[in-house]
């Protein structure tokens, strides 16, 4: 099952994130794929704010992950700096995903082979205009989300 969206400016990407925040549940794993500047962190920021985070949601590229003490908790990963699947174990990755919280994983496509089969994948590509973004959401449950996501 897959759904596609287009956003035409960063504010719309953020809003899509907020809507996703209403759909995601405990144990969900959302894998984000998209080049630099696609809007991955912005989308995560929308999700996190929808779930009650009041602080800025910043890029975890350097820290590798941030956790937000929402209900359920959010685990925001960024695998940009990692190169080997063993490193996922070293950062405690598997202790977080699919457990008590929602895992949001930037640059997940670097490790697509070792991520859970039931993960939801969101692929972001550039549109024709500089600010246009195409979203392709794929996963077993995404059909249930369609109404909420289209608003």
């Amino acid at each position: 099952m897959a759904i596609d969206f287009i956003t035409r400016k960063p504010e719309e990407t953020y809003e899509l994130g907020r809507r996703l925040g209403r759909c995601l549940r405990k144990g969900d794993v959302l894998c984000l794929e998209g080049n630099l500047g696609a809007g991955k962190t912005l989308l995560v920021s929308g999700i996190a704010h929808e779930l009650g985070v009041t602080d800025n949601v910043t890029s975890p590229t350097f820290n590798l992950m941030y956790t937000y003490p929402t209900e359920p908790p959010i685990y925001h990963f960024d695998l940009y700096r990692l190169d080997f699947p063993e490193e996922l174990e070293d950062i405690g990755f598997y202790e977080y995903i699919g457990q008590d919280g929602i895992a949001l994983i930037e640059w997940a496509d670097k490790f697509s082979d070792v991520l859970p089969d039931d993960a939801v994948w969101l692929t972001i590509t550039y549109g024709k205009e500089p600010d246009e973004r195409l979203f392709h959401l794929e996963g077993e449950r995404v059909s249930e989300w369609e109404k909420e996501l289209r608003g």
């Binding site: 590229t61 820290n63 190169d83 490193e87 405690g92």
Partner: protein, 345 residues
């Protein structure tokens, strides 16, 4: 018989494992570095051979004891000489923090000396006390690294007001991502700086995200996207790209925002001393621009040497020393706090 008197001041040993570096340092009386060992600067893990993950809690576990031993050897002291143990307990990667915190707790407990938990960014700011012996608060600190961009009003040794930080990407991250756009190797910050020297900073008018006046928040995600859009549109039109001009124009846009916001903060806080901290504090152009702006306003400006700009334990020991002086000790329940806020107690 003459009694033997200790000829040295208070000796704090500190451990830093919040991100990539494992570091152990010994600092005497808060300001004198006796040893400051950083794992990436010693060939510790070569003996493992093959592929060694560079970013890993496990790497900290492997490194922490050899780095500790190296530190004691270099300083020429034994564990019995130590008066207190400082450790970074946040913010950072939880698994990584726990390695340092566990080692520090074990040391403090077995030696019967106080344990002191240190905020990583406070450590970066305190690196300036190691560099500049005359430095005293109050001052404003600009903390810039791969993971942080923050303006902090340091009112005294224990009162910090976070004036603002980044809303999205840290400035160091923007440098690294622009390096990737330009096809430069990782870590990209120094590469962008090198290339920028050959380019024209006014060649491309990249946006300077100053946010609202009076706000000390930063935003570097838009600048990163602007560089990317410029790059992609030039490529699509088959037009030539001058990477040096892109690097110079990007660097200029990023640094101008930092300088402008910092000078606004100096004015609002009404202080005449500015310090720079964090990995991006090693950027020569940023140092030059701040030196110039500070001189114009009669502001004293100092920054740490390049080693003290990176993640290191000497800065943690320095911070721990001042917490020790105030009797602010942690107990053995100390835990790693991944998103430890600055300035809150």
């Amino acid at each position: 018989m003459e009694e033997q008197v200790k000829q040295r001041g208070k000796l704090i040993l500190a451990i830093e494992t919040s991100c990539d570096e494992t570091s152990v340092a010994l600092v005497e009386d808060g300001r004198k570095i006796r040893a400051n060992i950083i794992s990436s600067q010693v060939p510790l893990h070569r003996k493992y051979g093959g592929v060694v993950p560079e970013i890993a809690s496990r790497k900290h576990i492997e490194n922490v004891l050899p780095v500790l031993e190296e530190c004691l050897t270099e300083a020429g002291v034994t564990l019995d000489d130590i008066d207190g143990i400082g450790v970074t307990y946040g913010p950072g990667l939880v698994g990584a923090l726990l390695v340092g915190v566990s080692a520090a707790k074990a040391l403090a407990f077995s030696l019967g000396v106080p344990l002191i938990g240190v905020h990583h960014l406070e450590g970066h700011i305190f690196a300036n006390f190691l560099e500049n012996e005359q430095l005293e608060p109050p001052f404003v600190a600009l903390v810039v690294s791969g993971g942080h961009t923050a303006l902090v009003h340091v009112k005294d040794y224990s009162t910090f007001e976070l004036l603002g930080e980044t809303r999205d990407d840290a400035v160091g991250e923007a440098f690294d991502k622009v390096a990737r756009i330009l096809g430069l190797p990782y870590p990209g910050g120094p590469e962008v700086e090198r290339l920028a020297k050959e380019g024209d900073p006014d060649a491309i008018p990249f946006p300077k995200a100053l946010c609202e006046k009076g706000s000390f928040e930063f935003s570097f995600s838009g600048l990163k996207s602007a560089v990317l859009n410029y790059h992609n549109s030039k490529k699509m039109k088959n037009e030539e790209i001058n990477p040096a001009d892109v690097a110079a124009s990007f660097q200029s846009a990023a640094l101008d925002v930092l300088v402008a916001k910092t000078m606004q903060a100096m004015e609002v806080c009404g202080v005449k001393q500015l310090v720079l901290a964090g990995g991006v504090a090693a950027n020569t152009m940023l140092r030059e621009k701040l030196t110039e702006a500070a001189a114009q306003k009669g502001i004293a400006f100092s920054y740490p040497n390049k080693i003290l700009c990176t993640d290191n334990a000497a800065m943690i020991a320095c911070r721990a020393h001042y917490l020790y002086e105030e009797g602010r000790f942690a107990d053995l329940h100390l835990n790693g706090v991944p998103s430890l806020p600055l300035g809150k107690r």
